[in-house]
Amino acid sequence: MNFDFSDDQKQLRDQARKFLAEKCSAKAVRVVLDGKAPYDKELWKGLAEMGFLGVAIPEEFGGAGAGHLELCVIAEEMGRANAPVPFSSTVYLAAEALLIAGSDAQKKKWLPAIASGEAIGTLALFEGKGNPSSKNVKLTAANGTLNGVKKPVADGAIADFAVIAARTGSTGRDGDVSLFLVDLKAGGVEVKSLTNLDPTRGQAEITFKDCKAEPLGAAGEGWSILTQVLDRAAVLCAFEQVGGADRALEMGRDYALDRIAFGRQIGSFQAIKHMLADMYVSATLARSNSYYGAWALSTNAAELPEAAAAARISATQAFQHCAKNNIQVHGGMGFTWEFDCHMYYRRANAMALGLGSLSYWEDQLIDRMRKKNAA
């Protein structure tokens, strides 16, 4: 038993941290935040060159073939740097869906393109209000063509392809849903960018009109594949959230040491110290839950569904908690556009919704715990 990353994995973390500190400064993030670019293309290219995009993609499909623990390590650093690139959509959602359900030909086509940074992918699941549920999937697939609207789709406006959940049956059960792959650059697709909480990662509405699509995985298996994809993405996003929480805590701590009020460092006021201590506590609990999730993910353990839900809830709470209190520690400065606090606040709250909101994951966790206890 050993509950930590290996020395090699820690080395990879240092390498990623150094790389991102250089290539993904707050200034670079702001180019996207201010709407001057839809994402950081240079950074994306750099990530590909470093091998980070394909770290968990097998070598036969153009990746580094390292594994999911390594991907968790990278994810944490992506969150810490608040990277304005479609990493989660492409790597956690699209690539994982392909790894789980793609045919050999589909994997050969898209995975090397992901690893090399040539293709951006995403998952189009939601159709307006609501959480992941097969009942909410209204977009239809018939005879290989899709009709309907997906919204919000993370990174939808810059994606080259999407994995799409579509309705293929009428039993009213999960088996009505199937997955499809669509080349978004082909016809029948209309994309509209949406204003959103976190402009460093875009959201879009995508309308499909008689759009050609190829099945991904067996017909009727869509919901069960999606559940697996969401669980894996929950663990990976949790690492991004842990990275973000840690960074927000660090920013708050540093400011508390620098800022003087009433003739003292504000970090010497107990109210501030205790707020920072509580941020540390939630970040630590989230990290520990996420490590468990990482272990379950990397070994494909039976505990993965429960571990993923726990990591997701814990990391979502921690990032939101740290990001909001970081602004509080910064006082009025924290509420200016100029300071970076709001970037983490935005990211924390956007990430809290992306894979389904907290209440959805709370439900999942309790269902899964019950199942385990009954077994």
Partner: protein
């Protein structure tokens, strides 16, 4: 990252499991399983006697204080083996709570500061539960501010003469020995004038008076010292270095208590899984689920935080101030969990004791929980530790830091 046993760990587990199956006091298993914070009742037996018998049996077979060196009554086990043992010991582990102060705090302090012959004399019977130890630190004027204590020790030939009073001393009424922090020089700033000893609780001049707790039970005591003689060779550490010695104790206290504090979550989950509310099973209620999920991730977060700490220990790292997290989180959590369990019981939640739902286990938990947030350092002190020693924030302003102890004001008002 790996949760599976190595072949050696698996072998250790199998041996431990077989031994426990053959030797544990099974007649108490059910009662121990159903006990929770504030409620460990053995209906037909004296719990201290049962605990001592189990501990002795473990010691004789080499299963007591696993991580201690063999010559001091332990087994020289790795931190991981200790965890495996705890997993296998299950509810019987509750019995060792009776010895937590001795094993978790006094033992490690003795190991770090006592003379070799004292270690060999005193530690094995402590490990085996034959002798029980207590920790005599807190005083009416020195709780969080431990260094503000006033119990005096004055040198008299080869002995020290101790006068003063301790308070909140857990288990003093059935303890054989204690570690004692005293003031040996009131003319220097408070942290510099302290000295630590261990003593026989049966020494003439030691008087133990049980205190009735807020929960109604009496687990802690006032202890009075009137001209108690302690030989100098029972001093732990240098004269005037008592503060440093006590830091060793307190650091161990945080990890010992932190690791042992329960969260109440498993009890609540089990309860909600079977409880029927007016409009259906509690576990299907949206609000109940949300509460449960929030506590579930705290409980699992604590569990895996301590696994991470154990992995760090196995690599030879020392337990650090980050261990304060366990008690801080679990302490208020158990209070909230108990409050919520009673909320679910509605008006009948007010009934406690045997007549109450589940024989009053959540009521007992509610009444014991406030103590958990105070003992071994209050929530506020835990947060200070995290802020200062983990995050590197400035220490609190200390107006008494450079003042000779006998010049420090002693009353807040008037």
């Amino acid at each position: 990252m790996n949760f599976d046993d190595t072949p050696q760990e698996a072998e250790f587990r199998a041996t431990a499991r077989a031994w426990i199956a053959a030797n544990a006091p099974k007649q108490y298993e059910e009662e121990l399983r159903k006990s929770s914070l504030g409620r460990t009742v053995l209906r037909n037996a004296n719990i201290l006697e049962v605990a001592k018998a189990w501990q002795k049996k473990k010691a004789d077979a080499g299963w007591a204080c696993l991580h201690w060196p063999k010559e001091y009554g332990g087994r020289g086990s790795s931190p991981i083996e200790r965890v495996i043992w705890q997993q296998e010991e299950g509810p019987f582990g509750q019995l060792s709570r009776m010895f937590i102060i001795g094993h978790g705090m006094c033992g490690p302090t003795m190991m770090a500061f006592a003379r070799e012959e004292h270690k060999r004399t005193y530690l094995p019977p402590l490990a085996s539960g034959e002798k029980v130890w207590c920790q005599l630190f807190s005083e009416p004027a020195g709780g969080s501010d431990v260094a503000g204590l006033r119990t005096r020790a004055e040198k008299d030939g080869d002995d020290w003469i101790v006068n003063g009073q301790k308070i909140w001393t857990s288990g003093a009424h059935y303890s054989d020995y204690g570690i004692l922090l005293t003031r040996t020089d009131p003319t220097v700033p408070k942290h510099k004038g302290l000295t630590m000893f261990f003593l026989d609780m049966k020494s003439p001049g030691v008087e133990v008076r049980p205190i009735k707790q807020a929960s109604g039970a009496s687990d802690f005591n006032e202890v009075y010292f009137t001209n108690v003689r302690i030989p100098d060779h029972q001093r732990l550490g240098e004269v005037g270095d008592g503060w440093n010695v006590s830091l060793t104790t307190l650091m161990n206290e945080r990890s010992a208590i932190g690791a042992a504090v329960s969260t109440g979550f498993p009890e609540l989950f089990e309860y909600c899984a079977s409880l029927m509310l007016d409009d259906g099973p509690a576990i299907e209620d949206r609000a109940v689920r949300s509460k449960l999920a929030n506590w579930a991730v705290k409980a699992s977060g604590l569990k895996y935080t301590s696994m991470r700490a154990i992995s760090a220990l196995s690599r030879g790292e020392r337990p650090g101030p980050e261990n304060s997290i366990g008690k801080l989180v679990a302490g208020s959590m158990i209070q909230d969990v108990a409050t919520y369990a009673l909320d679910l019981q509605g008006a009948s939640g007010v009934v406690s004791g045997e007549e109450a739902e589940l024989a009053g286990r959540f009521q007992a938990m509610l009444l014991r929980a406030p103590g958990t947030r105070v003992e071994g350092g209050t929530d506020e002190i835990m947060r200070n530790i995290i802020a200062e020693r983990v995050l590197g924030l400035p220490g609190d302003i200390r107006v008494d830091k450079d003042v000779p102890f006998n010049k420090i004001p002693t009353k807040g008002r008037g």
